[in-house]
């Protein structure tokens, strides 16, 4: 499963990270090394093994349906790059 520059660019786009040709080239090199390391897994027989997502065998706890949050818009929006009329502003979204 050798990666190509094209793959790197596709993945970078999927991850919304701008990448130019020389960066992509450098990244390809390093990621290929890491994937080689990862591919050690291939040799392992995992037939019948259950995937493990969590270390403890517990189930989801549920929260009572009670309003606990208060309006903190002013505080939160102090961190926002651009706001107006109480909204977070971004370049026009085209449907």
């Amino acid at each position: 499963m050798a990666l190509t520059i094209h793959d790197i660019k596709r993945i970078a786009h999927l991850a919304r990270i701008e990448i130019n040709d020389s960066e992509a080239d450098k990244t390809l090199n390093k990621i290929t090394g890491i994937l080689t390391l990862i591919e050690e897994m291939e040799a392992v027989n995992t037939t019948g093994i259950i995937p493990m997502s969590h270390s403890q065998d517990v189930v989801q706890r549920l929260r009572e349906d009670v309003v606990t949050a208060t309006n903190q818009r002013e505080t939160f929006q102090k961190n926002a790059p651009t706001v107006g009329s109480g909204l977070y502003l971004v370049p026009q979204v085209i449907e």
Partner: protein, 482 residues
């Protein structure tokens, strides 16, 4: 060639919880932008989701209502994509293991010119819990889009059908049935204008008689049944024409424009969607136990199908009336209240359907807005069944109550609608009529049944409509056949 359309629906029903699916922020509609966007709704660094118990119970309730499998464990996954109204850059949804498995919904497709009404069972593939996105507001600031995260995190139940529908009418009948059901079991307010109930419709066509599915196009976010009907009709025609012209259908997401009545493919999203689903490590598997199911079941109202059957057997309603009465929980409740207040079931059904709901429909109102309450309607029904007034007089009382007072007896009195049931008085009337209409009497005696009806009419007219028609019939018959 004859074509067949194949339709499947994906419906997003906003669940009627006080708070969001993963946080304690309010879900109330219509608040100022971002005032109900807490740390979690805003996806601040470090925040974590905790699942709302009520949302889970709503999903269980739906599963039980459609007789679905409810697996012991279900799993929340992340659906990854970037959009400004999706604050985490992923939507928490359920992918491989949804909370509700296979079930079914029975629909009634209304009659048309060419076809009588019929029932059909629509398969439900699955229903899963997920969070809603925020809203993009356009035009608040010139050249920019504004993001309001009040809706972000509102619990949704996405209900997916099998591709079981074969016409726009079936799709609309299903959507209406589902819309009624989620309100009936009180898990969704059903408000389509506010987006509480939104349908995506998958449409494909194929040559009739073939079994392979054609390529489907998905009509997104239909928020009225009328638009759904129009959109499917247009889209079906478009696909058939495209294929007949030798073209091919490409899978696409499309939008319906109510102004033009046309469907149009959305600007294709950058590249193919690759949502990179994987189990959300911030959440653990969701367990639904037998005890959970039993608890929710205990809280379940009688469902429409069961109620319909009961009304048919218990009150001898026709299937048609029983379906109509159980079309919504509010109407059924109104009907039951009318009976409980002493109204005759059959008459009550007629008055609820022909009187109350007919009137409300023309005024675009719901049963909650009815100016006549069930107890009052029961009073009217009682006056008809005890012979105090005729059915026709009942209509006058009804009209008067719709716009005015609610005292049935006072209106009867005031309008002088009381029926004459005094045999002596009726006999006197009949004698007058017979005397004045000898020609008709002769006709009747010559075997013309029509003449009898005319004599009844004359008698009723002479009583100014107040005579009890049954009695008039009886007395006339007795006298004529004597």
């Amino acid at each position: 060639m004859e074509w067949e359309v194949v339709i499947g629906l994906e419906t997003h029903a906003q669940l009627k919880t006080k708070t969001k699916i993963f946080s304690g922020a309010s879900t109330a509609y219509g608040a100022e932008p971002n005032t109900q966007a807490c740390e979690v709704s805003t996806a601040l660094p470090g925040v974590l989701p905790v699942l709302n118990k009520e949302a889970v119970e709503c999903a269980i309730k739906f599963g039980l209502a459609i007789g679905a499998e409810l697996p012991k464990l279900s799993v929340f996954s992340r659906k990854n994509y970037f959009y400004p109204d999706l604050p985490k850059g992923y939507q928490i949804s359920q992918f491989e293991l949804p909370i509700v498995g296979k079930g079914k919904v029975t629909i009634q497709v209304p009659e048309t010119k060419n076809q009588p009404a019929y029932e059909k069972v629509i398969g439900i593939t699955r229903a899963h819990l997920e969070e809603d996105a925020g809203k993009s507001v356009h035009g608040a600031v010139e050249g920019m889009s504004g993001i309001d995260l009040n809706r972000a995190g509102t619990p949704l139940l996405e209900i997916v059908t099998e591709p079981d529908m074969r016409s726009a009418a079936e799709a609309v009948a299903y959507a209406k049935k589902l819309h009624e059901l989620v309100q009936w079991i009180d898990i969704c307010d059903g408000n389509m204008q506010e987006g509480s109930f939104r349908c995506d419709v998958n449409v494909s066509v194929r040559a009739k008689g073939t079994t392979e599915l054609g390529t489907r196009r998905e009509i997104k976010n239909l928020n009225s049944f009328k638009f759904m009907q129009q959109a499917i009709a247009y889209e079906t025609q478009w696909q058939i024409e495209t294929l007949e012209d030798g073209g091919t259908i490409e899978q696409a997401t499309i939008l319906f424009n109510p102004d033009t009545g046309e469907t149009k493919a959305m600007r294709s999203k950058e590249g193919a969607n690759d949502y990179r689903y994987f189990p959300d490590p911030d959440l653990l598997p969701l367990e639904v136990t037998e005890a959970d199911k039993a608890r929710v079941q205990a809280d379940m109202p009688e469902l429409p199908l069961a109620m319909k059957a009961r009304f048919e057997s218990e009150y001898a309603l026709s299937a048609y009336d029983a379906i109509a009465i159980t079309s919504s929980r509010a109407v059924a409740g109104y009907f039951v209240d009318t009976i409980n207040a002493g109204g005759d079931p059959k008459l009550a059904a007629n008055w609820v359907m022909g009187g109350i709901t007919a009137k409300l429909n023309t005024e675009g109102k719901s049963i909650a807005d009815s100016p006549i309450d069930a107890a009052t309607l029961a009073q009217l029904v009682k006056r008809i069944s005890d012979g105090t007034i005729s059915n026709n007089a009942g209509k006058q009382v009804f009209e008067a109550m719709w716009t005015g007072g609610l005292d049935v007896d006072a209106i009867i009195e005031e309008k002088g609608l009381k029926q004459v049931s005094d045999t002596g008085a009726i006999e006197a009337l009949v004698n007058e009529v017979l005397a004045a209409n000898q020609a008709m009497v002769e006709e009747y005696k010559a075997g013309k049944q029509k003449a009898f009806n005319a004599l009844v009419g004359q008698t009723m007219k002479a009583s100014k409509g107040k005579a009890n028609p049954a009695q008039v019939n009886q007395v006339l018959k007795k006298k004529l056949d004597a």
